[in-house]
């Protein structure tokens, strides 16, 4: 009899973790569980997306989160040495790196031999192992361990790591790839070749939610127009660029508005702008939702997105979005939905933000279009159906 348990394998998993892939895994796993699928999570004890140390609250062993069994394993054998750092520098500089060096680097970006051992020993208990995202030792080593049952949700970005030979081989060895958006699929086929197995599944759906923007304003003492940034604050996500552009916007006579930052990670706020840039850190789910409802504009300046849950959450509150024009995925979402604008440099950022903040009617209309787009394109029935189709195609190909 064929086993029917689906194991998701993210590098970290938990309720309070901030990150697109982490939220994606949890939402998809919980939805499948609600629909009666047997779902398990196989992951590490890592908490922090920078240090990946096992020293947080997560312990190895079994845990149940929202009805889903989570098996955690300690990360062993990972060394972030000078050699790893040197290889990473060469990759980022676009220099040639041998396959052996690539693997050495990947195995040291979150590695968990115990997890691989568990998968090797229990491969027959699972129908499929779904790895997410592509750029971690857990995914690379896991796919090498159980290629015949491996599927991947790559969350692929156009970045130097994506072009490594190791990942090209990995993408070709899996049974199926579940893409979040057509631009992501296009990018993958451009880098790894057109013969990849898989299709666009659509990521996750955001169900309508109630939120009270005034409650957020009252609790955090914020008045006036809010430009909201939600997510990890780091160079990789272009948060410093947003701060720089926003400060220049104010300095160049832009409209009175506050940039509110929520999420994990640290960010440097210029002293003289601290009355206009408010860093609230990690918020509870309720506060986060209220923040979306309070926002006039949600800005996602990242160029490394494969789906952008933030856009979905903003549009469900009918808030327009401002995104980076160099990010194929977010720009595609905005262009297709009509739910916002994009910028290519500081002058276009200034004008786009000015246009949005200065036109209430335009904001309302774009927000409405965004909501219509999310509701029609990202619903669970479609996503789960596409997810199952990829599994069936993969199984038929064995």
């Amino acid at each position: 009899m064929r086993p029917d348990t689906i194991a998701f394998v993210p590098p970290r998993y938990g309720l309070g973790l901030v990150g697109g892939a982490e939220a994606h895994t949890r939402m998809l796993a919980e939805e499948l569980h609600r629909r009666g699928w047997a779902v398990e999570i196989l992951t590490t004890c890592g908490v922090d997306a920078h240090s990946w140390s096992d020293t947080g609250d997560f312990r190895p062993g079994l845990e149940v989160i929202n009805g889903i069994t989570v098996r955690r394993f300690l990360q062993t054998g990972r060394k972030y040495t000078r050699k790893v750092y040197r290889i990473e520098r060469r990759i980022l500089a676009g220099k040639k790196v041998s396959l052996r060096a690539q693997e050495y680097w990947i195995y040291n970006v979150v590695s968990c031999p115990d997890l691989c051992r568990y998968m090797a020993e229990n491969r027959d208990r699972y129908r499929a192992f779904v790895f997410i995202p592509y750029l971690f030792g857990t995914t690379y080593a896991g796919i090498k361990t159980v290629p015949e049952r491996s599927y991947i949700i790559p969350c692929l970005h156009d970045e130097p790591y994506a072009y490594l030979e190791a990942f090209r081989r990995m993408m070709h060895s899996v049974r199926g790839i579940m893409f979040n958006t057509p631009p992501e699929e296009e990018l993958a086929r451009r880098i790894y070749g057109p013969d990849l197995r898989g299709k666009v599944v659509g990521g996750v759906a955001v169900t309508p939610y109630h939120a009270d923007g005034e409650r957020f304003r009252h609790k955090f003492s914020i008045s006036g127009d809010i430009v909201l940034y939600a997510g990890r604050r780091e160079i990789f996500k272009n948060t410093p660029l947003l701060i720089k552009y926003f400060c220049n916007y104010l300095e160049n006579g832009g409209r009175e508005a506050k940039l509110v930052l929520i999420g994990a990670g640290s960010v440097e706020i210029p002293f003289s702008f601290r009355s206009h840039i408010i860093d609230l850190g990690v918020l509870s789910e309720r506060d986060k939702r209220d923040a979306f409802a309070a926002a006039s504009v949600v800005c996602n300046p990242s160029v490394n997105e494969s789906l952008s849950l933030v856009l979905m959450e903003a549009w469900m509150q009918e808030v327009p979005c401002l995104v980076h024009g160099d990010c194929a995925v977010t720009r595609y979402q905005v262009e297709r939905s009509g739910g916002g604008l994009w910028f290519e440099d500081y002058p276009t950022f200034h004008e786009a933000l000015e246009t949005l903040l200065g036109n209430r009617h335009l904001r309302r209309e774009m927000g409405r279009r965004g909501r219509v787009y999310v509701e029609s394109h990202y619903n669970w029935d479609r996503i789960v159906q596409a997810f199952e189709e990829v599994l069936l195609e993969g199984e038929a190909a064995v």
Binding site: K219, S221, G224, K244, G340, L341, P347, T355, N359
Partner: protein, 371 residues
């Protein structure tokens, strides 16, 4: 539709990007083209410049007297983040040496010294780290307490703006504003606390009297500003407590204690007792709980939580140091209104009899308190 609108907030109407009024037909790529064109034009005209943050920061803080006015909660969150960054005291800082033939010797010497010193330094640093961690934790707890307190004070969205502007509830014609204005000596500037939509300030303006409001709800402040009224955006209690003792002469408050928690009423009356000058006048225009129909009308405004009896209000002011107190019932039910109510009540089969005086008692009272 060819009609176009430009948001009223646009600073220079001629320069604004024109958005078609018929937004259904809005084309985002065309709008982006216009944004790009405008950005190019402004760059060429040198209207704005893109500067590095360090340059911006330097230009703004040059001279050393740059001040940033921040909300205390935001300031607390900001300084806590800075404290967190400096809380980790360690001896493992990077060691370097000048380039040159002897550079490596200095580097080795420094490393050896640090190796020997580390156990002693770590013993001291350990205590410092523990202390710093406790300080950061205390600051975090303090910020959390403030946020929790603010959250609990939130009325679930039912504030004055929502009740008046969004639901259209509350009084449109407030009786007694003219009478209240008359209690202040001519020529005196009157301050109205919680000025709301500015009905009292409008009355003062009509009578050519000088008055300004203090209001914490920015949306209500904007309404007043659109009417050309002078209003300060601040929490009235914070503003009052920021005034010097014996410095205010004429203060007006409407619906005092009827909306916020009761302790706010006590704090406000206490603060008025110390900030009013000798002989200074506070006038309070409130709903009168004696008028049954007045009470019914008052509670049509869902932001009103309670009514304060005039004798209770007078006692609070007396306790706060006000010596001369006077309560005047205000506002009458005109004949049309009385008939309207009588018809509604008799329709329900009620005989009003001797109850008329209680039912139609004045719906407001004016408390005049002199210090």
């Amino acid at each position: 539709m060819t009609k176009e609108i430009v948001d009223s907030k646009q600073k220079e109407e001629s320069e604004a990007i024109r958005i078609p009024y018929d937004l259904e037909g809005i084309d985002v790529p065309s709008l982006m083209e216009e944004i790009r064109k405008r950005a190019r034009e402004k760059v060429e005209a040198g209207i704005y410049r893109e500067q590095e943050l360090s340059v911006l920061e330097e230009s703004r803080t040059a001279g050393g007297d740059f001040k940033v006015s921040m909300d205390p909660l935001h300031e607390l969150v900001f300084v806590t983040d800075i404290a967190r960054q400096y809380a980790q005291v360690t001896s493992h800082y990077p060691i370097g040496a000048r380039k040159g033939p002897l550079g490596w010797i200095f580097l080795v010497v420094k490393k050896v010294i640090r190796r020997f010193m580390t156990p002693y330094m770590d013993a001291v640093f350990q205590k410092q780290r523990e202390f710093n961690a406790q300080v950061v934790k205390s600051l975090d707890l303090f910020a959390e307490m403030i946020k929790r307190e603010r959250e609990r004070n939130y009325h679930g969205g039912m504030d004055r703006y929502t009740a008046w502007e969004e639901l259209g509830l509350g009084e449109s014609d407030i009786p007694g504003l003219g009478e209240a204005l008359e209690v202040f000596p001519p020529g005196e500037e009157v301050v109205e606390l919680y000025s709301g939509r500015g009905e009292f300030l409008e009355e003062a303006s009509r009578q050519k009297r000088s008055a300004y409001g203090v209001e914490q709800d920015s949306r209500l402040v904007r309404i007043c500003q659109k009417k050309g009224l002078k209003v300060l955006e601040a929490d009235p209690l914070d503003w009052l407590e920021g005034q010097e003792a014996d410095s205010l002469s004429s203060v007006f408050v409407r619906d005092l204690g009827e909306r916020d928690e009761l302790r706010h009423l006590l704090f406000l009356v206490g603060a008025l007792g110390s900030r009013m000058e000798r002989g200074g006048i506070v006038a309070v225009l409130n709903h009168h709980p004696r008028s049954v129909l007045g009470v019914e009308e008052a509670f049509q405004d869902p932001s009103i939580l309670r009514l304060i009896h005039p004798e209770t209000m007078a006692a609070l002011f007396r306790q706060a140091g006000f010596e001369r107190l006077e309560v005047r019932p205000l506002g009458r039910f005109d004949e049309a209104k009385r008939l309207d109510w009588a018809e509604k009540l008799s329709g329900a089969g009620l005989d009003l009899g001797g109850l008329e005086d209680t039912l139609f008692a004045p719906p407001r009272y004016l408390l005049v308190a002199r210090r």
